[in-house]
Amino acid sequence: MLFGAPNRADLAACVPAWPLRALRVRVHRNHGFEAVSSATRAYAAWNGLDFEWLIGGYDDSLSFDVASDADIEIVWLDTTRLQGLAEVGIVDWLIGRLRALRSQTVRPILVLAWPLSDSDRTRLDEAMIPDTHVAAVSTLAAALGERWIDARAAALSGTRLGNHACLMIARELACCWVPALTLPPRKAIAVDLDGTLYAGTLGEDGPTGVELTQGHRALQHRLARFRDEGMLLALVSRNERDDVEELFARRDDFPLRLSDFSAIEVSWNDKPAAIGRVASALRIGCDSIVFVDDNPGELADAGASLPVITVHAGYDAAQTASVLEHVAGVFRWRRSAEDRLRADDLRASHVRAQIEQAASSPDDYLRSLQVQLDLLVGPRQQLARLAELSAKTNQFNLSLGRMSEAEIARRLVVAPSNVVAIRLTDRLSDSGIVGMVVGSRVGNALHIDELCVSCRALGRRLEDSMVTKAVVVMAGQLAPETVVFAVRKGPRNAPARDWLVRYAGAPVDDETESVEVPFDAVCARTLSSAIRIEVMQ
């Protein structure tokens, strides 16, 4: 109903019976938006969201009224109404207006402008306005063809866009564009085999008997693309392991290979337990996992016992791929280098575990890995990755500040040394940017407002060295008396809080909001000689 041909009558019948998270969305616009906003309800509810719309009046000048609070700012433009700006150039004018909006709010900005050429969209992106994202509306227009515009529509809706154009925009807005700005991203897709990746039953039809329909081929291709983009894939199937290995060995026509899966759980045991083991193996929470299965009973079991998102693999596997693309947190505005490194890094972690077992001492272990930490001071080019780290990191995230890209950019403007990014490499893999420390100087104290380290870097005994060196770099020439670590208890950040107890030698209970450590004590900590550390200003 939601992901077939757009149909406003069907949407009207969708009434959620589950709790929704409210999001206040402000719209700055120069043409009618209500035909879009009215159609978002069902799509947003499907993803557990409820949009509260703050829609301003028509304003071709984009003067921006941001007096009240909102979670996100949308700029909704029909650029044909701006032809008077042709001499200045619409894109240059829009960049100026977006910079003006950016200076008034740290909330994410989403630009929905049409018509807008790909080159103009690229220019807007290249303006590097923090946490500002330009949607590919033209792609939707091309998909809908001549029905994109409806000359009759303006009389009803105040926009030239037709009903189905508005429905398509509503779907992308509610399922992809807004969730990607406001919710943590999904990190893994766990898929069943029989009836999900192909038609048929492996145990009965055999490896050559199961059918790769056109839809299943499309689904497997889409999953392979997700993997290339950095999403981890996991296999969760009730089958014999030998049969599954034979299946992938013999079916050259499958776009997916067994090696594409970062975790494989093939057994006759219950699936929720298997998904739990997948989460442990991938070092992520179950709420970061999307579970796809053709059996509604399996989905219900998993959904009842775990915080996973479930997707039913229906008869039309191509539509399953479309549904997957619309699960909140699957669409991402940017894919970082770290995303693409994730699966390889995870594979390397298994080798690291073997090396650690064989090592004679912790330093011997680190030395054999040839660990290198690069501390990037004032890393403007890494804003998107740092915001992603802040949003995604749950275990080693001390204050759970969830700083936005715009907020980190603001801290950088105050002083570049307020932000330090940490890149990690060893001889087995390049883990990319895995840590972030954001601080601020208040009198004689250096406040560490945000400290997070990706779970990919945990377990290598690097946290002390990362933090100590970052704090010393931040302090610069003017040594503070104390370092104040902001801390807040979250559902999963016990590793970070336990680390602080050990590092500061002070208790941290559920109510603790900050912990002070004398700067001299930080400086006195010995950095491991087995780690190579480089500071890059």
Binding site: R8, A9, A12, S38, R152, A155, N163
Partner: protein, 83 residues
């Protein structure tokens, strides 16, 4: 999608009430746009587009203001569905 005149009227009525989010008028009373404060211009837009999707038709722009009761809607829908 088609149906008898009364079926079309019932479907239109049900869809209008669902979009407006209001209960059906009491027994013997007609559902008229002028009597329902919730049936404003924005809800009218939603209703017209939803009717087009439900019945697979396109109203003429001149018809938009006339679609103000389930009876009028059903008559317009029948005209568009007529062979």
């Amino acid at each position: 999608m088609s149906g008898t005149p009364s079926e079309i009227e019932a479907q239109a009525r049900e869809l209008v009430l669902r979009i407006l989010g209001v209960p059906a008028p009491s027994q013997g009373r007609a559902l008229l746009r002028g009597d329902v404060p919730e049936w404003d211009s924005l809800k009218h837009m939603e209703i017209v587009f939803a009717l087009e999707d439900r019945f697979g038709i396109q109203f003429d722009e001149s018809e938009f203001p006339t679609l103000d009761t389930p009876v009028a809607i059903a008559a317009a829908v029948r005209r568009h569905l007529a062979p």
